[in-house]
Point group: D2
Chain length 114, copies 4
């Protein structure tokens, strides 16, 4: 785990975009689309793999680098999306876990997709 | 900004899944798919909006709640994906911004999609 | 196989949208987003299933109906996208198969993702 | 409009995959994922464009070719998905339009996303 934090990365991303005058492209609608495109690129790495192969992906250095690169892209667009809308992503997740703990009790739960 | 941090949320998500015996579903392949599904649900909120309407989405409390809920879901699956593969998402993003600063110099750059 | 054809369905979709004055929403950008949202809803049905479970999905009438419904949505947005841009989807696919037959010779090929 | 038809293309795709022994990869789960990946690649073309720019995309021959290529990929995976599950995509869409005509009456409807 790094000691980097989300607000610092969010600031760096905002400065990066501002220095290149990219703010005009960064509507919430476009950033949500870009996030889903990057999520699709992450899925692409796994699309033909068996579950077992997918679990060993990081053993191949080229694939590992590709996965990390897509993770970075997904997180970058998620944080930029949150920045333009003033959303605190960590607080949103924290609140969601609270709600899910009530929705899916630990005993006898079953998976939501079962 | 909250003082919550990513490692703490990642631990909470791991304990949540373990308490429900959901680890069997959480292959990297499945978590990448789930991440892209949630990204799609975020896009859905914006799909028929103009760029201007998308920028005002948080003014409507119901839509704001929906957006925050999808942000939480995207982040939850991203962190769980990183957890099962041992990826440090913040370090991956930090390294990616470093690379992008070289790839897209601030002056005269143009948007990568232009 | 039905004897329905693509041009007839495309016309029906265009008339349906016109009668409701939905043309204003149907920019190529929005229709591409809507297509990807529906593709995500199709993925959602399968996201936690094993490959074997996914192959038996049509044995459950409720799941079968859900799958067919998402297939219809994906095709609807794909045809509407093609309609607004004047693209002949069947001809585009036919030309693509021709190209792929050269790109991936039948003998000794290996899967593109291997 | 071409006089190509869907069953003929579906057969060609099935023969193409069989000749390369790709059937092993073509579970419904994997084909749904591949479909969503291709839909994401279509969205990528439009992600930073204004609605107006998106409507003019076919005026640029390189972009037009790229769009047609992604349309072909989306349709290819949709038809292969339907093939392995025995779904008649055109009949599914026809039935869905019937249902939508009842759900969204032509007069005074409003868009489903309004």
């Amino acid at each position: 785990m790094s000691d980097l934090d989300v607000p610092a990365l969010q600031r760096r991303l905002a400065e990066f975009a501002a220095a290149r005058d990219w703010g005009q492209y960064h509507t919430p609608k476009n950033l949500a689309a870009a996030l889903s495109v990057e999520a699709g690129e992450l899925v692409e790495i796994f699309q033909w793999l068996t579950p077992e192969q997918s679990a060993r992906i990081m053993a191949d250095p080229d694939q590992a680098r590709r996965v990390e690169d897509e993770v970075a892209d997904v997180l970058a667009y998620l944080l930029q999306f949150c920045e333009v809308l003033g959303i605190d992503a960590l607080a949103a997740l924290d609140a969601k876990i609270d709600r899910n703990e009530k929705r899916f009790p630990a005993k006898g739960g079953g998976h939501p997709m079962e």
